[in-house]
Subunit: 316 residues, 2 copies
């Protein structure tokens, strides 16, 4: 396939319309640089970094690649303003904002000449993003790992509704771990994909090896969207998941759930490798991920599967 006319590739300055999701505890310099070097767009996941660590990771990424890369900034996180300032100081020019209003950070980002994408879970927010001046939207379906929308719109339903609602490029996220799923997203009208779980499961991802082993072993029904009355999060079944399920079954309040969650649960599970009492965020598609390739091998595989899928469809 040739992507020379693809609007997302032009916007981001990349060869392939594939963005690596900026995931907490997974997306440090090594992963980001590997994805950008392979022709996609790597995103640093600032959500799990203290400001100084983030600055280090930006500099490290720059040493590892001369290709474009960006950062994901969850706007509702306490240090998001500081992360944003560091991003601009360090010369980052592609910013993906999430978890908050797209309008909030737009002024300084646009003044600095940044390309801005915002993550949405429904078409109404996609329209707000376009109105606010976003260059593209990333629409993330119910099947995605980690934090998730309240409407539970799946990628199959969400993507075409966002495509219909806005004229800026729509990037599909949620449930994409193969070239066939990438092609399906493009059939729905997306102009690119953001891939999370599949990149979390690469050699270069900074997730703990015990976390990766647990995800590789997971079957089709092993993630569920939990904590809906607090902040909806898709997580993998383990002892902590069972406790959350227990609390929810007896109608526990948001406050009780917040207390159970506590501080550092995700760090414990994903970075420190406590796969029973930690929170293990991953997408529903983990049921079909069972290896841990290098990013370069994975990108070749995805591109090959994509081409095969399009050729199969065109032949029929």
């Amino acid at each position: 396939m040739s992507w020379t006319d693809n609007r997302l590739c032009k916007l981001l300055g990349v060869d392939l319309p594939v963005i690596q999701g900026g995931m907490v505890y997974m997306s440090g310099a090594k992963l980001v640089a590997a994805v950008s070097n392979a022709g996609g767009l790597g995103l640093l996941g600032s959500g799990s970094m203290r400001p100084e660590l983030f600055r280090e990771q930006v500099r490290k990424t720059r040493r590892l690649t001369d290709r474009p890369f960006g950062v994901n900034i969850p706007l509702l996180f306490p240090n998001s303003r500081e992360i944003l300032e560091i991003s601009l100081e360090e010369g980052i020019r592609i910013v993906v904002t999430s978890a908050g209003s797209p309008r909030r950070a737009m002024g300084p980002l646009k003044a600095a000449g940044c390309t801005v994408l915002h993550v949405v879970a429904n078409p109404a927010l996609a329209v707000k993003c376009e109105d606010a001046g976003c260059d593209a939207v990333i629409c993330e379906g119910f099947e995605a790992g980690g934090h998730n929308g309240r409407e539970e719109l799946t990628s199959m339903v969400l993507v075409p509704q966002c495509v219909r609602a806005v004229s800026i490029p729509v990037v599909a996220a949620g449930g994409i771990a193969s070239g066939a799923q990438w092609a399906a997203a493009m059939a729905l009208g997306a102009e690119g994909v953001q891939i999370g779980s599949r990149f979390a499961m690469t050699e270069e991802s900074s997730g703990h090896s015990a976390y990766k082993a647990k995800v590789a072993a997971a079957g089709f029904g092993d993630t569920m969207l939990m904590l809906k009355r607090h902040v909806p999060v898709r997580m993998l079944r383990n002892a902590f998941f069972d406790r959350v399920a227990e609390f929810e079954a007896r109608g526990a309040s948001g406050d009780e759930l917040a207390e159970l969650l506590g501080k550092g649960r995700a760090r414990r599970g994903m970075l420190e490798g406590d796969v029973e009492d930690g929170e293990l965020e991953i997408g529903q598609v983990s049921g079909m991920i069972d290896d841990i390739p290098t990013v370069a091998a994975l990108m070749l595989r995805l591109a090959h599967e994509y081409d095969q899928t399009i050729n199969r469809l065109a032949r029929s």
Copy 2:
């Protein structure tokens, strides 16, 4: 597109790999015959018919079309055995079974020379279907209307896992109301699609006009999967929905939910048009359905959109 080599078309003897879901209160002779006459496969929805009405509807359908059509039989329904006997007596040779074990009805169906498809919501059940002798499986994602699986697997994730798990044709269902969505399903490896909500919203569907008007007006977040502790059902927001949500928020038991549901809720909503106190089953894709075309016009639209989508993908 040419479908002459499509395995599902050959199996069913139809021109297009499009099955109309056998939906309660929607899928009588008029809808079924219209779909079959337009080149797809119509399915009578026996789940909402008493045996004698069902026999009448089979005969009526046969008067309206000389093309293949079939029946959906929810195996857990009390009169499923009688419906099955009538189907065979009346010469039906395509049977879609759902809600129960695929093995249960296989003996008599295969002895009578029937083509049998079973509806599944996870890849493990797809394997059981293949082992039991099913000719194809219909895998129905979380976004589908009405009864739904417990694993909440979305079409984007479910379809490729079923395709990987079995060698019989996989039909995708859930979230398909446009040619782009049909193409996405084929990209995922499906060899055909089953479409429910979009056919419920046609002139020929026997749903009440007030139900159709309510669905046409629905927005993107207006369905949710409810009654998970009883029998998971995707339904449209209305006064009844709010009552269910209330019960669930306070952790009501399956028995309490069953009592609230009572008898005839779905009939009241979908056939009698009580759109506030009735149960309105419909898929998540209803958020992008806003007209009520004839089946013939709809099939032309879907085929046109499908071709456009494939051509767009092949050009890139």
